[in-house]
């Protein structure tokens, strides 16, 4: 049975963050990842007659995202993750239930909204503007290492914030949270 067009569109839009995140993890550029997502949406719509269920749409789209992202990463001479790791990553994303993903995403947006202006500014420079740590460091008159430390610290705090918001029963990360002072 062929899926209706609006069902395919709904799946593709609902899974945007998942698909874009997979692409971003390979190409390391959010805007390029967004472009890849859009290309895959178009391609999926063109090929929609071959989809037999919504899971198929997601699996097909994730695979298409991965291939396009890997091709782009190669053309940009980025050191890629090994194929077996990408396999694991892709299947992990695919296996995560949509509701779990949605809850985690909502929690993340909640936590991002609570960031201080300076913390948000750093994340925006890094991921919104796509600046390297070296460029940010020059702009802020700091060292690149200091920028890397601040960024990893921010990521850690966002992870903890999300874990707390989801509650221990829904903890997405089995490992115990780590106490770190900034």
């Amino acid at each position: 049975m062929t899926l209706k067009l609006d069902t395919v569109v709904q799946v593709l839009l609902r899974e945007r963050l998942r698909m874009t995140a997979l692409a971003a993890s390979v190409v390391r550029d959010v805007h390029t990842a967004d472009d890849i997502y859009q290309q895959v949406v178009l391609s999926a719509l063109e090929n929609r007659t071959q989809f037999h269920d919504t899971g198929h749409v997601l699996a097909w789209s994730l695979r298409a995202v991965r291939h396009r992202a890997v091709d782009l990463a190669r053309s940009r001479q980025l050191r890629p993750l090994p194929d077996e790791v990408l396999d694991l990553l892709e299947s992990r994303i695919e296996d995560t239930a949509a509701t779990e993903w949605s809850e985690r995403s909502e929690a993340l947006h909640h936590c991002l909204r609570q960031l201080t202006t300076s913390a948000r500014g750093l994340l925006q420079m890094k991921y919104g503007e796509g600046l390297t740590a070296l460029v940010i460091a020059k702009r802020l008159q700091r060292t690149a290492d200091a920028v890397y430390q601040s960024l990893s610290r921010l990521h850690r705090c966002l992870r903890k914030c999300v874990e707390q918001r989801l509650g221990s029963s829904k903890n997405s990360f089995p490992s115990p949270p780590t106490e770190v002072s900034l």
Partner: protein, 461 residues
């Protein structure tokens, strides 16, 4: 120092993002990811954080001191990690990314496609020229652009190339492989391919294709909500539940119906014909029309230079030297080289039907003469997939040059198609490749290249 695998992967991630990991660190990251599902989750979530961070509304901050801020943040437990109370964003702007973010988050809850469409289409970009509420069944957005695209409002001003297209605006794309897709809330799409221009009227209910190709995939609709697609030569009225390609060339329009059927009328409104699934209608400016099953692109092809060049031939002049008809290169400002004048032959562009079908073993045969050597001279084919509705394109290139010939001499080039794949625009899709444009290029030097025969043969011939 914290040595938790999750903390370590966070440290590695920020440097991985900059491609700044050493080979040892790359191996360490790969090993961590392969050995622990929690680390894998964490890594994926880091990428999600990156995407979500890029979607944060822009903020202005005069002087940002990471270390100072970090130290300050550590003073209070309630404000650790940079998590504090910030006033809600009052920005009225909705970037495409923000809009999509909201879609991603909101839709995960499984809201219906209709409500979805409302969320998607409402917002600052609702700049429809009509009074009252925009009609969400027809309002149209540009969702995906590949290559160069511009959108001009009815008053001629350039507006954002993505977002809602206001009534009277013209969407144009330039360049081979360029695409822009118009998406309607019900999932209907109209994709523009290559060099195309289309004007949107009546909130997207009426589309006028000025030039190029539009591939329309239209969902079933109530009668009053159906689309009308027009070109200078014909009109498809109240179309729905159809897959159709409309091509507007210099002097003709082509309609290829892949699914459903369409009623075609003249611009005057006079009914012309009904084109059904699997049929191709060609209407010339002279009023002559043909309707036939969609032809299969042939494996064999040649330029019949005994006859005038086909309609729509782009660059190159046909002449008869002695008894030999030939095509001569002409100066042409090539837009793909920023308007640099080059000496070229460019055939007619046949996107829908294609000129010829190639596999690696196909043969290309060219009989030519030239006054001077052209060491970098090219024979290029722009190719697409077998599906004319797919926007994917690529190039097959021979870059071996042309040699000067002596008086009265003609030379042959015999090129296996497979040898033309080694170029940076090589198709990302597998054979067969459908050639829709042939280019001879001697770049900026006029070497007097003349082509008396151009032929494509199937494998083994």
């Amino acid at each position: 120092m914290n040595t938790s695998p999750l903390s370590r992967v966070e440290e590695l991630f920020v440097r991985y993002w900059d491609n700044a990991l050493s080979p040892t660190e790359t191996d360490e990251l790969a090993e961590l990811l392969a050995s622990d599902p929690a680390v894998l989750d964490c890594f994926q979530f880091l990428s999600t954080q990156a995407v979500a961070s890029a979607e944060l509304p822009p903020i202005a901050f005069p002087a940002f001191d990471v270390e100072h801020e970090a130290a300050k943040e550590s003073e209070e437990a309630g404000r650790e990690c940079g998590l504090g109370r910030v006033p809600p964003n009052k920005s009225g702007g909705w970037s495409r990314r923000r809009m999509l973010r909201l879609l991603g988050g909101g839709l995960a809850a499984g809201i219906s496609a209709f409500a979805f469409g409302r969320t998607f289409w409402r917002g600052r970009d609702d700049r429809d020229g009509r009074d009252g509420e925009p009609d969400e069944t027809t309002q149209v957005r540009v969702i995906a652009v590949h290559g160069t695209a511009t959108v001009r409002a009815a008053d001629g001003k350039l507006i954002s190339a993505t977002g809602t297209v206001p009534t009277g605006a013209t969407v144009s794309i330039q360049g081979l492989g360029s695409t822009a897709t118009l998406l309607y809330p019900d999932g209907s799409t109209v994709a523009l391919l290559n060099d195309s221009a289309l004007t949107v009227h009546e909130s997207g209910r009426l589309l006028l294709l000025h030039q190029g190709m539009a591939n329309a995939e239209l969902c079933p609709r109530e009668d009053g909500q159906r689309l009308t697609l027009t070109t200078p030569l014909l009109s498809l009225s109240h179309v729905n539940d159809t897959s159709v390609i409309v091509g507007q060339g210099l002097r003709s329009t082509e309609i290829e119906v892949r699914q459903g059927s369409v009623s075609v009328s003249a611009p005057t409104g006079e009914p012309m014909t009904v084109v059904r699934q699997g049929e191709l209608l060609t209407v010339g400016a002279n009023g002559i029309r043909t309707q036939q099953p969609i032809p299969t692109t042939p494996e064999e092809f040649f330029w019949n230079l005994a006859d005038p060049l086909p309609e729509g031939w782009v660059v190159g002049r046909r002449e008869v030297a002695g008894n030999t008809p030939l095509v001569r290169c002409e100066a042409w400002p090539d837009p793909y080289y920023n308007g640099t004048v080059m000496y070229q032959i460019r055939s007619d562009k046949q996107w829908t039907r294609g000129l010829f079908r190639l596999v690696e073993e196909s043969g290309i045969h060219v009989r030519y003469r030239a006054k001077r050597n052209s060491p970098k001279g090219q024979v290029c084919f722009c190719v697409r997939t077998m599906q004319s509705w797919s926007s994917e394109t690529g190039m097959l290139e021979y870059n071996g040059g042309f040699q000067a010939t002596s008086a009265g001499e003609w030379r042959w080039l015999h090129i296996p198609a497979g040898s033309m794949l080694a170029n940076k625009h090589t198709p990302a899709f597998s054979a067969p490749w459908v050639g829709f444009l042939v280019i001879f290029n001697t770049f900026e030097t006029d070497v007097g290249l003349e082509v008396a025969e151009f032929r494509v043969t199937s494998p083994g011939k």
